[in-house]
Symmetry: C2
Subunit: 298 residues, 2 copies
């Protein structure tokens, strides 16, 4: 990864992190619940979804500050999904980002409720933050909320998680694996890009290109995750390497082999950048961000 | 309960129930997830929150059809909260509305995700339904979403559930019990009333009165729940009577005695109706709805 991209990612992650806690409610919130929510929200991570919001606005020549409430809401949703996915009834993970998972620290009941509260706050905080915003039309905020609802709901991220669990321990078709990757990961990335496009009042052809870009990097991200689970390092990953295999999870390397998986990954990144070039965003920060997907080691 | 109120409740519940399934997504939703969501959403119940939305609009001389998407979203949120509250890690209930609880039928993982998907869909469906609505300003929809987020999040319903669990097995102060009742139950009723008021573009004094009414009937509802757990009938309740006592849950009757609980209940209903009378809604359908709270047997 180039020095400048690394600096960009660090800067933007820092900016987002400054806005996470202030976006939560505090008054009337039971202490244990607040601590459980902030434990996971502030546990680090790449902050990729928020960064995509800011990078999209920057690419469209819109002040990135406008995207912060939406960026923060996406990170709340991503965090809730990790908390719930780690639960004993789901993936039963003890370690996340190198720290004990939420339910290991706060207990299952609190972890479930902390996830519920983060999901709820994500939607509420978008509505609050953009109500009476001088630059953002309220109908575009409704479009963002509708988009987010679809991308992280039953036909999106939640559907992907169900399909992922149903697929454990049995041989999947490539089509099924793509359904999982698309919904479990790509949908929320697409929501980041499309939501930012609404904030920027981008025209339809731009929205389409960003959607295509989001789908490609989302699928690539998940294939890279599969590859890292085989080739990666537990210490760097912050979670147990080899866990997919040990729980007989369908992955790209398992299904089509490591070489074909890497070729697919490169093809997707190429397509993502093609989508940008077609609408004049080939030189924007979104292009090196796509490369980052395949360069990352955790 | 009067014949006419019974008919009103039945009619409105039927109307709401016709709109529940059409408000869910179907395409791209895994079958098992869809079945789990609809199992609980269509399991009956009083549909009190949706009815409050429609009754408020009727009282304010606004066509009730305008409230249906919001009413349906509230029922989704109420249903998600029941699914999650019933989980083994939480209240560990086997029976709900006379049927096996969601996780007993679909397993814990699916139950958690079905709740997540219903909560997500609630927010998304509001945004979708009211986007480009001819009678509803988009900024009022954002106010509704912000309100709903606060009332059902960490400082609202989720906070109430955490406090309820934390309080199990120990002696609570009346203040703690009121926190639980207010947030676990009254908040969502207040969201129903206030959301309907935004849809009707009601003036601030009307909004205040409806909030007061909602708080009073919400607290009354929960006290009546406590009373029914002692005096009620398992068959009618659709859940196990006496379960509060057996799990050493703090209740009004346990804390201040049965007689004082009933006096408090009557006082709250009186106050609720006073709030209506003060803004000229004393003869509206909301008045007998308050009485219904103390007359109900399940």
């Amino acid at each position: 990864m180039s020095q400048s991209l690394a600096a960009y990612l660090r800067d933007k992650a820092n900016l987002v992190e400054q806005h996470l806690l202030p976006a939560l409610e505090r008054e009337e919130v039971p202490v244990q619940l607040y601590e459980s929510m902030t434990y996971s929200l502030m546990a680090g991570g790449k902050r990729l979804r928020p960064i995509l919001v800011l990078a999209t606005l920057e690419s469209l020549d819109v002040p990135i500050e406008r995207g912060i409430p939406y960026a923060v809401a996406l990170e709340m949703i991503h965090t809730y999904s990790l908390i719930h996915d780690d639960l004993p009834a789901m993936d039963d993970d003890d370690l996340r980002r190198g720290k004990p998972t939420n339910h290991k620290v706060f207990g299952e009941a609190t972890a479930i409720l902390a996830g519920d509260a983060l999901l709820t706050r994500a939607f509420g905080s978008i509505a609050e933050a953009y109500l009476n915003h001088p630059e953002v039309k309220p109908e575009n905020v409704l479009r963002m909320i509708a988009e987010l609802g679809r991308r992280c709901g039953a036909a999106g991220m939640v559907g992907g998680q169900i399909a992922d669990m149903e697929g454990e321990g049995r041989q999947l078709q490539l089509e099924e694996l793509e359904y999982i990757h698309r919904h479990k990961t790509a949908d929320l990335l697409m929501a980041a890009l499309r939501g930012a496009a609404y904030l920027a009042e981008a025209p339809p052809h731009m929205l389409d290109a960003l959607t295509r870009y989001g789908l490609c990097i989302g699928l690539a991200f998940q294939i890279q995750d599969d590859i890292l689970d085989v080739e990666g390092d537990t210490a760097l990953l912050g979670k147990t390497a080899g866990s997919d295999q040990s729980r007989q999870k369908a992955t790209y390397p398992a299904l089509i082999g490591m070489e074909a998986s890497k070729a697919k990954l490169n093809q997707l990144i190429y397509e993502a950048k093609q989508a940008l070039t077609a609408v004049g965003l080939g030189d924007s920060i979104l292009a090196p961000l796509a490369d980052f997907i395949i360069q990352r080691r955790h």
